[in-house]
């Protein structure tokens, strides 16, 4: 495998990073909305987000990407493949992050909400100033764990036909007939992205466990 | 004083200059003692004195670093065969019962005879039912440990150990985790066992039990044996200051 092929992989890697970043950032916003709706007192919002989470956690990411990709085309949106994939990843991430954050919002002791209410803080302030900062801390290891899952999940964009790292690897491998070398390198590149995050997440989890003991 | 292993034909356990460390901490100092067949020993001493460690060395739950331990003539080396042989002859009862929560009372008692001794299911069940009868808990055989009181659990644990037909029973503070009203039923079971001639080493603070059952009381402090005597002498005429202080604390509370 020569220099040109490797550069081609790096271009794919760039798109993997872009997809992951867009999916994660938009997913965080969506996930926050889902988590707030899921923990709200409004029954309709509660039920709707529960169903949303159930559907996205009960179906394969690949199918979600397919449905979004062809569904958007169907209603007449002429958009690039990468945007369709980014939208799919965002919807996926919103569901998973929403569920993670619902759990951590509920893990904040009830007394915190009561104390905030007693201080006559309104919902927005109660959430922003009291509950969410604590919930965020609790959720950090799981959130990072999901980010790793999302980075790995972007590889499925290759099946939809978008050239990110895995598809770049596939193309190179078909050209030079060295699939093992190519996929080993592709795997290594993913590993280099994910492993530091995994280690960081485990570190946070240990620190958190130590501080609550 | 030293004991050679074949000095007395009826010697069941000998410890010869046994030492044990946890890292740099010396948990047992030069322990030498022997236990005759059928003898009942009560080991007592303040917490951290090494009494639990000592009996846990006898069935190799804790490895010792120096000296020799023999049980029924078998030298407890560090090789697996001797360890297995000794564990089959030595029963142990723990402070926290350690019954297996996923097995019924009967299954708790049948497991080791079937798996370690190779008994058939029928034979293991016969034996288990007999011994549950003996600790007066036969009617609970189908229950799970979590459904029993502490005292009942500890009696099951005694039956479970007896199912291996051990020659020696070790008791590691068997009544310390029990509510006061349940201590008696467990002690009565142990007294029954003693009357049947079992060789026993009990780590316990139940001095009434010691008076009634023990042939010898051994007092330990800081990992060493301070003094040992028959109970009558031990309680009425302790020789060491350390022992007197300990007895004063434990008897006058």
């Amino acid at each position: 495998m020569g220099k040109d092929e490797f550069v081609f992989l790096l271009v794919g890697l760039k798109w993997t990073v872009v997809l992951s970043a867009v999916g994660f950032v938009c997913g965080c916003l969506g996930g926050l909305a889902v988590a707030l709706a899921r923990t709200s007192d409004i029954k309709v919002l509660n039920k709707a987000t529960a169903a949303y989470i159930g559907v996205f956690q009960g179906t394969p990411l690949l199918m979600q990407l397919f449905v979004v990709y062809y569904g958007l085309a169907l209603v007449g949106f002429k958009i690039d493949a990468w945007i369709a994939v980014a939208i799919g990843l965002t919807l996926h991430a919103s569901a998973y992050l929403g569920e993670i954050w619902r759990g951590s919002i509920e893990a904040v002791p009830r007394g915190q909400t009561e104390a905030a209410k007693a201080l006559s803080l309104k919902y927005a302030s109660r959430m922003r100033d009291v509950i969410l900062p604590q919930a965020l801390r609790i959720s950090l290891p799981a959130t990072i764990g999901f980010l790793v899952q999302l980075i790995k999940g972007t590889s499925l964009a290759s099946i939809v036909g978008f050239t990110e790292l895995t598809r770049a690897g596939n193309m190179i491998s078909n050209q030079i007939f060295q699939p093992l070398t190519v996929f080993a390198i592709v795997g290594l590149l993913y590993f280099l992205m994910c492993c530091p995050l995994t280690i960081f997440g485990a570190h946070l989890e240990r620190r958190f466990a130590a501080s609550t003991r | 004083m030293t004991y050679s292993s074949d000095a007395q034909a009826d010697t069941m356990i000998t410890l010869d200059h046994v030492e044990k460390w946890y890292g740099a901490f010396k948990a047992l100092h030069d322990i030498s003692m022997s236990v005759r067949q059928g003898e009942k020993i009560v080991l007592c001493g303040p917490s951290g004195s090494g009494k639990s460690t000592l009996i846990r060395c006898i069935n190799y739950l804790e490895p010792h670093q120096k000296g020799e331990i023999r049980v029924d003539g078998i030298l407890l080396g560090h090789q697996a065969k001797a360890i297995d042989a000794i564990r089959r002859e030595v029963g142990m009862v723990f402070q926290q019962f350690n019954l297996f929560p996923h097995l019924t009372v009967l299954e708790n008692c049948m497991l080791a005879p079937m798996r370690a001794l190779g008994l058939s299911k029928a034979a293991a069940e016969d034996r288990a039912r007999g011994l549950l009868e003996r600790v007066k808990i036969a009617e609970q055989a189908a229950k799970y440990p979590a459904q029993l009181s502490g005292g009942q659990q500890q009696r099951v644990a005694i039956a479970r150990a007896l199912c291996m037909q051990p020659k020696v029973m070790l008791f590691d503070e068997p009544t310390s985790a029990l509510d006061p009203e349940m201590v008696k039923e467990v002690l009565d079971t142990m007294i029954g066992l003693a009357e049947d001639g079992m060789t026993m080493i009990c780590v316990t603070h139940e001095m009434g039990f010691a008076r009634q059952v023990a042939d010898r009381v051994i007092f330990m402090a800081e990992g060493a044996i301070v003094e040992q005597a028959p109970p009558a002498e031990f309680f009425s005429n302790p020789r060491h200051e350390r022992t007197r202080k300990f007895l004063g604390e434990i008897l006058n509370h």
Binding site: P60, L62, Q64, G71, L180 | V90
Partner: protein
Amino acid sequence: MNYQLDFTPVIDGLPNLLLGCLGTFLLAVCGMLLAIVIGIGGVILRTSKIKAARWAMIGFVELIRNTPFLVQIFFLYFALPLAGLRLDPTPTAIIALGINGGAYAIEIIRGGVQSISKGQIEAGLALGLHRAQVFRFIVLKPALRAIFPSLTSQFVLLTLSTSIASAISAYELTSVSQRIESESFRSFEVYFTVTAFYLVISWLMMRLFGLFSSRYFAYPVK
């Protein structure tokens, strides 16, 4: 929008899709069984006294957890023949699923084993059982009970990732649907229906796990 939804190809392909569901189910179950075997074996190595075995397992777990399943399955697809194993795509997919799920299972099971108190193990040893027997008869079931919720969600994820096995055209629901899609070009209709099928499959999986758990772990705890 002048596109008319047309589910006729989906309805015509229903028998094939249902067979595909069965394929997915079998793939998932075989993958899980292999994952459990790898998980238990891996935990024994991961907690053994041999340092090399421990490090090998740490490396294996991190390697698998930090790379995409799609890349793993491609790698295996090309590597197995070189190792002298010429297998069809479906068994290859099962091995890939087993290895992937096994790595996660190692970490989960290890957590479960560590949740068992030391006294339980000592009681088993004091009764004359060997280490392997203590693990098999005393540690395993309570440990499984402790980890069952996380094992369940991991195995639902494994079930969902069987769809990725379509990339090497293993026989399962996604590859069947791709065939119907490529013949009919009714992409949205096909994938939308198949997504609903997956929802049913993962719901069934969870029910099965719940049923197993209420039977097998029926013993009371404090």
